[in-house]
């Protein structure tokens, strides 16, 4: 089974869970006075879930045949190993680390670290340019967001 049908299958499972939640778990919570409304909070999700199940079934069962296209895809997932998979996964990991560290480590440290490590992962070796650029950019963005826009970002680690 091709990847797109697998994805449709996953979406089908999600829609079934969603349908279960919409049909069987929502209406009991409704206060009696709201039950007199012609529309309930679950009405729209019920309709959506049925339509989503139908649409994903069409793809899973292959009812709509796509014309055989000979165009080359941007990235061929069957040969994923041929691409720069490791840097991509490292960057994703780095983004997760950034999300977790942003509050405890403070904006300045987390951001300059993210920019420097990200560039090194991608193969940048001119550290004497990279580090100043990353630090200046971080400081500039912090100044812009904190001072000009007035959105609070904790600049330094929590213990300061």
């Amino acid at each position: 089974m091709a990847l797109d049908r697998w994805i449709a299958f996953v979406i089908l499972c999600v829609s079934v869970v969603y349908a279960y939640a919409a049909f069987f778990t929502m209406d009991q919570l409704l206060p009696p006075f709201m039950q007199r409304n012609p529309i309930w909070p679950s009405t729209f999700p019920k309709v959506l879930s049925i339509m989503a199940i139908a649409a994903s079934l069409i793809i899973v069962l292959g009812l709509e045949k796509a014309p055989d296209s000979d165009k080359e895809p941007d990235i061929d997932y069957r040969r994923l190993g041929d691409y720069e998979l490791i840097p991509a996964l490292t960057l994703l990991g780095l983004m997760v680390a950034y999300a977790l560290l942003l509050r405890p480590a403070g904006f300045l440290l987390a951001t300059s670290g993210f920019l420097i490590i990200g560039a090194v992962v991608l193969g940048e070796r001119k550290l004497h340019i990279l580090i100043p650029v990353a630090c200046v950019a971080t400081g500039f963005v912090w100044y812009l967001v904190e001072e000009v826009l007035g959105i609070f970002l904790r600049p330094l680690p929590f213990f300061f």
Binding site: A2, L3, D4, W6, I7, A8, I11, S15, Y18, M26, L29, M34, N37, P38, I39, W40, P41, T43, F44, P45, L48, S49, A52, A55, S56, I58, I59, L63, E64, K65, A66, P67, P73, D74, I75, E84, L85, P87, A88, L91, L92, M95, V96, Y98, A99, L100, L102, R103, T111, F114, L115, G118, L122, E124, V133, V141, V145, L149, G150, I151
Partner: protein, 505 residues
Amino acid sequence: MIEGLLIGLGAAFSLQNLIMVIAGCLIGTFIGMLPGLGPMSIIAIMIPVAITIGDPSAALILLAGVYYGAIFGGSTSSILLNAPGVAGTVATSFDGYPMARKGQAGKALTIAAIASFCGGTIGAILLMAFAPMLSTVALLFHSAEYFALMVVGLSAIAAFAGTGNVAKAVLMTLLGLIMATVGEGALFNMPRFTMGMMDLQSGFSFITLAMAMFALPEAIFLVLNPARSAQGGGNGKIENLRITREEGRKIAPVIGRQSVQGFFIGVLPGAGATIASFLGYAVERNIASKEEQAEFGKGSVKGLAAPESANNAACTGSFVPLLTLGIPGSGTTAILLGALIALNVTPGPRLMLDEPQIFWAVIISMYIGNLVLLILNLPLIPYIAKVLTIPRTFLIPFILFFTLMGSYIGQNNATELLILVGMGVCATILRFADYPLAPLLIGFILGRMLEDNFARSMQLYDGIGFVLDRPMTLGLLVIAGLLVIVPSYRARRAKARQKGVADGD
């Protein structure tokens, strides 16, 4: 009207006001380029400045300049980085970004600037001519018609699906609609599908989803395939800036049509620039010739000009209900309404009679704002396009950082960043399998409005009967049905013909 025009001209062409326009356009453009800060937030930031000016005409002129600048700045990040910061510029990235990747970033920006200029100017002319009349038409649209209008907008997704991909596009739209139901709806004071997580209480945020659907997968693709970034405008050619005469001839009718259509959609409160740009894109794609249709989504000049002129014209159109009825049709005009009231001006039917100088100064300032934007930005385009010549080792971490920042400053919530990364990975996998991502985002944007309007009309008419009671609703729904059915029917017929089977009549 001539008299009013002269009053407006007199007010707008003072030295102080001209400086206001220029400053507003510059500020708007530069802040608007950061994804995550749309016109709404920038205008909100500028309100204290505007109020301290004191003179309502000057303040409004400043804000109008910021508004136009922000929209243009938003298109810039859509075109260069595939990171649409505002819902209204999502459609711009469909063709703008492929053009930038083909090394035509300068040209794409020029087309965007010219299309925005024409859209805004034509919109302003229409505003001047029709404002009083249109306010009555806009009131004819009730929630039932809005519901139907949004269904039409969603059905237009068939325009994004190639042949044989209608089911995928529909499924993605439904997924977007499903995601829009997460969180607390406006009409039913109860959280839905939050799985008990506080962070989902207010639903997914638009900006996070937009970044996850467009900017993140693109950045991951750039990392996966280093050759990909080498293809795209690596040399940053500036001589490509000029539009050829042939291209000019191609986009002129598109700009004309979409400016008018966009304006009239913008007049309807609540519809606004987003729907105008999507519908504009869909309409132009459907009426284009077969060869041109194949180009859409791969860097078609028409596909770029259509949403750009439509969204600017719609922004102008959204001033109609604000100035004539005092009803703000969009978030941005709601903030402008707040600014006006703070300046002791009450928009409404009496504004045109009581304070004509303000009414006309706003309209004239729209012309000037558009013109100044064009004059300021055309020389800047080569420098803006240089963004793409930054080496990829620097550019990619910065793109990732800006996507993270964009979703962080909206919510001030680090969980949002984890949601962003998770959805970005899902979006990348969807892109591997050739699922279109734009319909998902459109479904998400329209989903909540769709449900609210549907719920409101169900309550007003006590059941589904409103569909038959209101002919305009029924008509719009029929159009929506045709939009879905016709493309797949056409594809089926074309396939049957290929096989040599007679298709009957």
